[in-house]
């Protein structure tokens, strides 16, 4: 009975159904991320969208296994062979030629090193071979980027701003002519590229940029004016992907509105200048500048991805590159952990090597596990992308958030293990710590990406709820759908719901973990549905709630990813399988406990009360313009 009542409850409130639809409108606040286009223009009778994404479907309490099980294996023998040949010289270059401390001190990449990187081919990893690059797929790219991340994150950004975002738009959206013209220049011809989106008044809210390009009277050029801020490679780039508003006429209404368009801009067009390199906390050797455009004449054939599509182009570029950050951070964690372990196994204090102490062991275990999880995500996503997946945006966002936070934590702990030695410059960890900080900020702040994951997932679940509502209007025609749903809810209502079974996908030794992941999926789906019913479209404004939903989704996705990777290792009887199993179990146990806690918070009156309290505290402080409390002495 309960089950039917619940569905009826949704169905009986048509106003809510309408409001739910408003969730579909991708809110401005998540505009550094791609809007879930699938739901655009939702008509009441359109079937709910389908997605191969595990994360997306998990918001409905369902398991979509195709992109998570089995763990992707996308490289054929020849690709593995090629990659193996590339790994050695790349590693050797970073060990023998590039000097990260020197680059940090000089606040630029040493000339010889930069020239060496071009020579090495590191700037054109994914440019097709016939256009001057190496033609690597995402998985091969990830493996090489891992080496960069292990050695020099500043160089990583110099490379990444160039190829992961700088000219990626040309690779993804360029016409054959644009590719033929520009890709050889940014690879074989050694011209730097940059991605120019951010402006002084427009960071996370990328849709609000003010730079503007208008068609010249003869219709042959766009004339660009505006300025960009914090552009990586801004002082070096000859080729730039620039985003600007352009007047676009609505075909239906005839109304002219500004819409973002992407352009390929060459410095040589004239009118392009840049400011001095910014002084920064980290990634100091990476060049960051303001870039100014004054009456820059851009030929119309340099529009990238179509007039008015710039926002989509920008978001796709960013989404497409995020797994690379996870790969780089995996490398970083690998190298900082090696340093800490080397110290811990040799450092004698209180009569013992410090690695014999539980406090240190817990640190090393966590560091190792976080690296394992991050690396597993990176290659799962690159594998999905290489198999042609289009539904990887939530996963990619999670990978960026998770990787940047884990790398920060792991490096912090590495420093802690090394005590005073960790704080010393020559140890090389303090630089990594400074370098890492930016990764939680750029390419979509982690806060915004959390909102993106939560809202996109909720929107997807909402669309399916609506489908259910519609089914109730014509029960006989939709009997199958309804009966299935009623059964599911009946089971859930008596507390027997163990969730969609995932044990079938994992190695028998991981059965327990898979069961808890299954249960988490079911709990998560129910929590999303309750939140939808409770908040409706207002969920968009409930960031305390959204944050906890996002954190649960990250925990849940990562559980499944390691279950998949560890299953592969156990099946292959890999020599490290048992070690991986330990980490997988640890991760799953702790992550499922966190999920339970986070989901409980959504309905707990104490926690909800805390949200109200926090909101009030913050308002007080902001109103006061500083902390409200005085010191206990009263002055």
């Amino acid at each position: 009975m309960y089950a039917i009542r619940l569905v009826n409850k949704i169905n009986l409130k048509p106003t809510e159904a309408v409001r739910l639809r408003l969730v579909d409108v991708a809110p401005r606040c998540i505009s550094t991320t791609i809007p879930c286009g699938a739901n655009k223009g939702d008509k009441l009778n359109k079937p709910a969208p389908k997605s191969q994404s595990f994360v997306m479907n998990m918001f409905r309490g369902q398991v979509q296994a195709s992109q998570v099980f089995p763990y992707p294996k996308v490289l054929n023998e020849e690709q593995v062979d090629t990659l193996q040949m590339l790994v050695d010289p790349t590693t050797k270059f970073f060990e023998e030629v590039n000097n990260p401390l020197k680059n940090d001190q000089l606040e630029k990449v040493e000339e010889a090193s930069l020239a060496g990187l071009w020579e090495l081919g590191a700037f054109g990893l994914q440019v097709p071979q016939d256009l001057g690059g190496l033609g690597l797929n995402n998985t091969q790219y990830a493996r090489l980027v891992e080496i960069v991340g292990a050695n020099d994150l500043g160089v990583g950004i110099t490379l990444g701003a160039h190829q992961s975002i700088g000219f990626k738009g040309i690779l993804l959206f360029g016409t054959p002519e644009q590719k033929a013209k520009y890709l050889p220049r940014v690879s074989a011809e050694k011209q730097f590229a940059a991605f120019c989106l951010t402006e002084p008044s427009s960071g996370s809210d990328a849709g609000s940029i003010k730079s503007r390009a208008v068609l010249s009277p003869d219709g042959k050029h766009y004339i660009l004016n505006g300025s960009k801020i914090w552009i990586s490679n801004g002082g070096l780039a000859e080729i730039m992907t620039v985003f600007a508003q352009t007047p676009v006429k609505d075909e239906k209404t005839g109304e002219v509105k500004d819409k973002v368009t992407a352009f390929i801009v060459e410095r040589s067009f004239g009118g392009v200048t840049n400011g001095p390199p910014e002084k920064k906390m980290g990634i100091k050797c990476s060049n960051t500048t303001e870039v100014y455009y004054e009456d820059v004449k851009i030929p119309i054939e340099n529009v990238l991805g179509g007039v008015g599509n710039g926002f989509k182009v920008a978001m796709n570029i960013l989404n497409n590159g995020r797994f690379g950050m996870a790969a780089a951070m995996s490398g970083t964690m690998r190298s900082v952990t090696r340093k800490a372990v080397d110290f811990a196994t040799n450092r004698l204090q209180f009569g013992n090597k410090i690695d014999s102490y539980g406090a240190i062991q817990e640190k090393i275990a966590r560091m190792s596990t976080l690296q394992y999880v991050t690396e597993s995500i990176a290659y799962m996503i690159s594998g999905n992308m290489d198999s042609g997946s289009q539904d990887y945006h939530l996963e990619a966002a999670i990978s960026k958030v998770f990787a940047s936070e884990c790398a920060w934590y792991v490096t912090d702990e590495a420093i802690q293990i090394m005590g005073g030695m960790g704080f010393m410059r020559d140890t090389g960890l303090e630089r990594v710590m400074r370098d890492l900080r930016i990764f939680r900020i750029f390419e979509g702040t982690n806060d915004i990406l959390r909102l993106f994951v939560a809202l996109t997932g909720i929107q997807f679940a909402g669309a399916h709820l609506k489908e259910l509502q519609r089914a109730f209007k014509n029960p006989t025609a939709n009997l199958g759908l309804l009966l299935g749903e009623i059964r599911k809810r009946a089971i859930a209502s008596v507390g027997l719901d163990s969730g969609p079974d995932m044990t079938q996908y994992v190695h028998p030794e991981l059965k327990g973990c898979a069961e808890s992941a299954s249960k988490c999926v079911a709990d998560f789906g129910r929590a999303i549905e309750s939140a939808l019913i409770k908040y409706n479209r207002k969920i968009v404004e409930e960031q305390f709630v959204l944050n906890r939903i996002a954190n649960s989704s990250i925990d849940l996705y990562t559980m499944v990813v390691v279950l998949s990777r560890c299953t592969q290792s156990l099946n292959n009887k890999s020599s490290t399988a048992n070690h991986e199993k330990l980490m997988t179990e640890l991760w799953c146990n702790e992550a499922s406990a966190r999920i339970e806690k986070n989901l409980k918070a959504l309905t707990s009156s104490v926690e909800l009360g805390n949200f109200t309290k926090m909101s009030a505290i913050s308002k007080n402080v902001c109103q006061n313009g500083a902390l409200v409390q005085q010191n206990p002495l009263g002055f």
């Binding site: 040949m85 010289p89 060496g116 020579e119 081919g121 071979q129 190496l134």
Partner: protein
Amino acid sequence: MARVLVGVKRVIDYAVKIRVKPDKSGVVTEGVKHSMNPFDEIAVEEAVKMKEKKLATEVVAVSCGPSQAQETLRTALAMGADRAIHVEVPAGDYETLQPIHISKILAKIAQDEKVDIVILGKQAIDDDSNQTAQMTAGVLDWPQATFASKVEKKDSELHVTREIDGGLENIKVKLPAVLSADLRLNEPRYATLPNIMKAKKKPLKKVTPKDLGVDISPRIQVISVEDPPVRQAGSIVPDVDTLVSKLKEKGHC
């Protein structure tokens, strides 16, 4: 203008800690990182430089061994060799393959390919034989310039500086000749990633010792391979006098 043949051997990477197999039949090679013998890298670099200076027309790299030898050949191709010859020797036979066999193989290829200069590493860092270049010259009856630290081509001669005990020796050899590369001959280049990709398209020919008419039946038998003796722990002496007397005791001074 000359055609140059370089020999490249796949060896356990210099940075790997070598482990002896429990049955003492050899060292553990499975799952162990291998690379091109460092002296062979120097040999390849010298050959490629000759080509760049237009002193050579073509650089041919050759490697003997099981199929993995092709990885090493690919590295040579990525460094600038024009083509490669893989002399296929099954893993079992490879264990007893000695400089005498290799030199006969190289000599035959040198003749078949009509090469003018053979450059080899002075020794391989795995078995440290330091014989192959000398024997190859012997089989071919060509002049040899071993341990080269500088090579200059003048007309149809090579002027070679050799590192010998106590100094440098300058010699002239007429072509055709066999050279072996010493450590200071040059600094080998990195194989760049684009060149590695290009190398995949360069020709790689496979032959067997039998095709070349070389008998590779073993001339030696490995009785046992053992770890070097473990170093005994030292002891700390209180002062210099004790040190001196201890050294005297052991006959060191």
